[in-house]
């Protein structure tokens, strides 16, 4: 269609979201809000050990408690063969997922589910948990990534042999996979370099921190037909995983997307649904399961923590000629860390001749990681974008200038293969450089940092339909759960194509029986891919509407124009007939061929790359190590903002999560491998008073392969903040923090040791 904003009436405006009122009056139905007659409540018994053999589970006493209806263990599930799953975001194996939902022979982390009980009330179910006796043989455990890689570390899986190394290992280890990406010749690159710096950075696992705990209600009929209401990022994902884990046909499961109270990648896999289905099957009654916050922290996946070893070689003028990176990512209890995208995104902003990247995917006794906003990229970028500033210091080049000198452009070949097109990176640097923020004066103990970030953005499979109703309104149906306002953008794009007011287009998120297959909401794909399906469905409808008008006028469909929601006779017929509105045509649909609707299923390709550059000001209290974020500006190439408010919201939200990641969020394990801070009190996500306003600057470099130029916007905003904050702290007090989180005790210790160094 068009890549210019000219002529757009709806796209780019800021209407109220169609699901808004229900959400501000408390009527929207989230995962835990559904009730069924005769419903049971189920709770999960979890391992208190980080690593233990399960010798026996005895639940006779639990079953005797009045009100308890059933208990399940891994024995109630079919044994699943090892098989790659392409259902969620990031690598997954069906057998691992089954064992993650309920431990089979070993509990692999504190909080790993070992049994579940259904009872007539949640209090009874909870009481019954204490009556389930699990006999464990506690095994040595390992939490940190490098400890897990070390010789002699406790091995989690005796059938796990490192992939990607030659010769094939004969001993099992915790290193699931070694991967590499190369470009040019790294040795030559470092030979050419006039300045070389090598630094090591570390990050801690961080949780997505969605405020809504996982929840579902399931009902299953005696013939095996099941309905699942659950909060997830993809009802088709829930359906596929549950069918596999329960050993039933996909057609037997109807998965309904409840409103989802945040996901950020953390709801791209299942935890409760398979357990609830097994309990519903065993009891013949609907079952509701809701996690507590403690269970969310102990039992569900954060993103990896990692070790990032960066070596950069540059010419004195700032041209980087060699870039080497080693990444070690924690996967949690099963393989599948986002080390792949971590490797690929690390240097993607830069046009570099010689690159050598190595990544390790490492299991340890922590919850299996799940996707989290730009999975993998923020971790490697924290290292690379911090190291770039260290290099800039070394070279005496302005950090922003250094990025400009090395920026990727259209035609830059990345280390991981593809050659870039539609790159808006330099535009973000330019806008950052010229932003008034860069000129604001800083006071004592205040500093400014910049950092950039990249995320691929993805397309993928989506389905959508567009139905013209009898009165000329339209219903747009898609299969993408609305996690942050996507209903509004779907309605806006359909409204733009149909030419009728936004309020006359109503969007619906359909269940798995009411719309074609749609991959989950993730990878910043919905506005791009599902938006493309919606647009094409609306375009198909418009073509049909023109045909109907032609039929009514008895002229050729080619001689009909569609403008402003009306059919106009065109060419030699121009002016011969009064235009027909969409409502006029809808009214006559019965006489022109029946209902007007179209469904489009597609596999969208050509998601434009996401680039961002952030500017952060901080003030450090040198006596306490407390860091206050004073001002934050986030520049991003957004392609085209369909609904600018929700694009801004994605940027602001990503920044706040990144600030939490930078400053305070972490998992604290005790010496027994038990999580010591499984709650919002001590996990310390940013609260309202921690944050300044966050200024989003939207650069529009439209994506030619989307009907309205949209690019994914949700993920790249979390990539730059950690380095931006670290760079700001270094600017404020001259202390370089290379280990996240940069919490007050660590910062104060770094300051003191820096002072000691100076005194020595």
């Amino acid at each position: 269609m068009t890549s210019s904003s000219e002529g757009l009436k709806v796209v780019g405006t800021r209407p109220i979201r169609p699901d808004g009122i229900e959400k501000v009056i408390g009527r929207a139905q989230f995962g835990a809000d559904t009730v069924m007659p005769g419903m049971l409540w189920a709770k999960v018994k979890r391992s208190p050990h980080a690593h233990a053999k399960i010798k026996s589970i005895n639940y006779d006493k639990a079953l005797k408690l009045p009100g308890v209806k059933a208990v399940i263990t891994a024995k109630d599930f079919p044994d699943i063969k090892s098989e790659e799953a392409f259902v969620g975001e990031g690598p997954m194996n069906f057998r691992d997922l089954s064992r993650n939902c309920i431990a089979a022979d070993k509990a692999l982390y504190d909080g790993h589910a070992v049994a579940a009980v259904a009872a007539t009330s949640s209090a009874i179910a909870e009481e019954a948990l204490d009556l389930i006796d699990v006999e464990y043989e506690v095994l040595a455990h390992v939490i940190d990534v490098e400890d897990a890689m070390a010789d002699g570390a406790p091995v989690l899986h005796d059938d796990l042999f490192t992939q990607g190394v030659e010769p094939k290992p004969t001993k099992p280890s915790n290193v699931a996979k070694k991967i590499g990406f190369n470009k040019g010749n790294i040795e030559e690159g470092f030979k050419e370099a006039e300045v070389v710096i090598e630094r090591r950075y570390t990050t801690q696992p961080v949780h997505q921190g969605y405020i809504e705990p996982h929840a579902c209600v399931v009902s299953i009929a005696t013939d095996g037909q099941a309905t699942i209401w659950s909060s997830s990022q993809g009802q088709f994902m829930v359906r596929a995983y549950c069918a596999k884990l329960l050993g039933t046909d996909i057609a037997n499961i109807r998965a309904i997307a409840a409103e989802i109270g945040g996901g950020f990648g953390g709801k791209t896999l299942v935890y409760l649904e398979p357990l609830a289905l097994a309990l519903a099957k065993k009891t013949g009654r609907p079952v509701k399961m809701v996690m507590s916050r403690e269970e969310v922290f102990r039992g569900t996946g954060p993103t990896s923590g990692g070790v990032i070893e960066v070596k950069l070689g540059a010419k004195k003028d700032g041209k980087i000629v060699a870039a080497q990176l080693v990444l070690k990512y924690q996967a949690g209890a099963f393989p599948g860390s986002p080390v792949g995208p971590g490797c690929m995104c690390a240097f993607a902003m830069y046009d570099l001749p010689h690159v050598h990247i190595t990544g390790y995917d490492v299991v340890s006794n922590r919850p299996k990681v799940a996707a989290y906003r730009a999975p993998g990229a923020p971790i490697s970028s924290f290292g690379v974008e911090s190291c770039l500033n260290e290099l800039a210091d070394e070279l005496g080049v302005d950090p922003l200038k250094l990025r400009e000198i090395n920026a990727a452009k259209d035609g830059t070949k990345t280390a991981h293969g593809p050659t870039f097109v539609n790159v808006g990176y330099l535009e973000t640097l330019e806008a950052a450089k010229n932003h008034p923020h860069m000129k604001e004066k800083l006071g004592p103990n205040q500093g400014r940092g910049i950092a950039s970030g990249f995320w691929f953005n993805i397309g993928g499979e989506s389905s959508a339909s567009c139905h013209i109703n009898e009165d000329g309104t339209a219903t747009v149906v898609s299969g993408s759960p609305d996690i942050g306002g996507s209903r509004a953008s779907m309605a806006m794009m359909a409204s733009e194509v149909l030419g009728i007011p936004y309020e006359r287009v109503r969007p619906v998120v359909a269940d798995t029986t009411a719309v074609g297959f749609t991959f989950l909401t993730g990878g910043s794909r919905v506005t791009f891919a599902t938006g493309m399906a919606v647009t094409q469905a609306a375009e198909t409808v418009v073509a049909d509407l023109k045909k109907r008008a032609a039929m009514i006028w008895d002229i050729s469909p080619d001689a009909v124009d569609w403008r402003d929601g009306m059919a106009w006779p065109a060419g030699q017929n121009a002016g011969n007939f009064d235009p027909l509105s969409l409502a006029d045509i809808a009214l006559k649909a019965g006489r022109t061929g029946g209902p007007i609707s179209a469904e489009v299923s597609l596999n969208a390709q050509g998601a434009g790359p996401g680039f961002a550059t952030h500017i952060c000001d901080v003030e450090v209290d040198p006596e306490t190590g407390h860091v206050k974020v004073l001002r934050y500006t986030a520049v991003q190439d957004v392609g085209r903002a369909i609904h600018p408010s929700y694009v801004e919201g994605q940027i602001q939200g990503g920044v706040a999560q990144g600030v939490g990641w930078a400053l305070n969020e972490e998992y604290v394990y005790d010496k027994n491998g038990r999580l010591d801070n499984p709650g919002f009190l001590d996990y310390r996500m940013p609260v309202c008073s921690d944050m300044p306003m966050i200024e989003p600057v939207m650069i529009e470099v439209p994506n030619p392969r989307h009907p309205f130029g949209a690019k994914g916007v949700g993920e790249v905003p979390i990539v730059p903040p950690m380095a931006a904050v670290a760079n700001a702290i270094a600017d404020a007090i001259g202390t370089r923090m290379r280990d996240l989180p940069m919490s007050p005790p660590k910062l104060r210790a770094a300051l003191d040791s820096g002072m000691k160094d100076a005194a020595d």
């Binding site: 979201r17 959400k23 109270g261 945040g262 916050r293 929700y646 919002f680 309202c688």
Partner: protein, 161 residues
């Protein structure tokens, strides 16, 4: 253990319910009275998604027992709008796109309404500290603050007329 019989006022209407002693006010609202607008995010008073107003003070309904409801005056998110007229805070949340997933929204709206009832002209900093007990993970708080400050202005203008 027999249930407790509680008589109280919820959203301006007399209400009666039976509850067990360990049930929280949040459990009662959601599971006994079907008022599921108050959300359970943590059950430890750290997220504010279950915020209600009890006798004029905002409270985490997860940290109040249902039996304590006896004789109180309680407002939940379901009672913030007057019929089909949204409260200015609700209206401004919509206009400013101050919600993304919408899960924390009821708690924020109840807390913000209580703020503006007691302080019609808060500074941004006062609003931020008042709302620090409400966690939002989607928005970075920016648009929420703008919505609250804008609602305050609207309410002051309305009160002045």
């Amino acid at each position: 253990m027999s249930k407790h019989h509680v008589t109280t006022t919820i959203n301006g209407e007399p209400a009666e319910y039976l509850c067990e002693a360990q049930q929280t006010m949040l459990d009662v609202l959601r599971d006994e009275l079907g008022l599921t607008g108050s959300k359970e995010g943590c059950s430890s008073g750290d997220c504010g998604a279950c915020t209600i107003i009890v006798d004029g003070n905002i409270t985490c309904s997860c940290l109040m027992l249902g039996v304590e409801g006896e004789g109180r005056t309680i407002t939940t998110i379901e009672g913030v709008a007057q019929g089909d007229k949204l409260h200015p805070v609700q209206q401004k949340f919509l206009e400013h796109a101050a919600l993304q997933c919408g899960f924390c929204t009821p708690g924020f709206i109840v807390a913000a309404k209580a703020l503006l009832d007691s302080n019609p002209n808060p500074t941004e900093e006062e609003a931020r500290y008042w709302l620090a007990g409400n966690l939002c993970r989607c928005t970075g708080y920016d648009k929420i603050l703008r919505a609250v400050m804008d609602a305050a202005e609207v309410m002051r203008a309305e009160a002045g007329r």
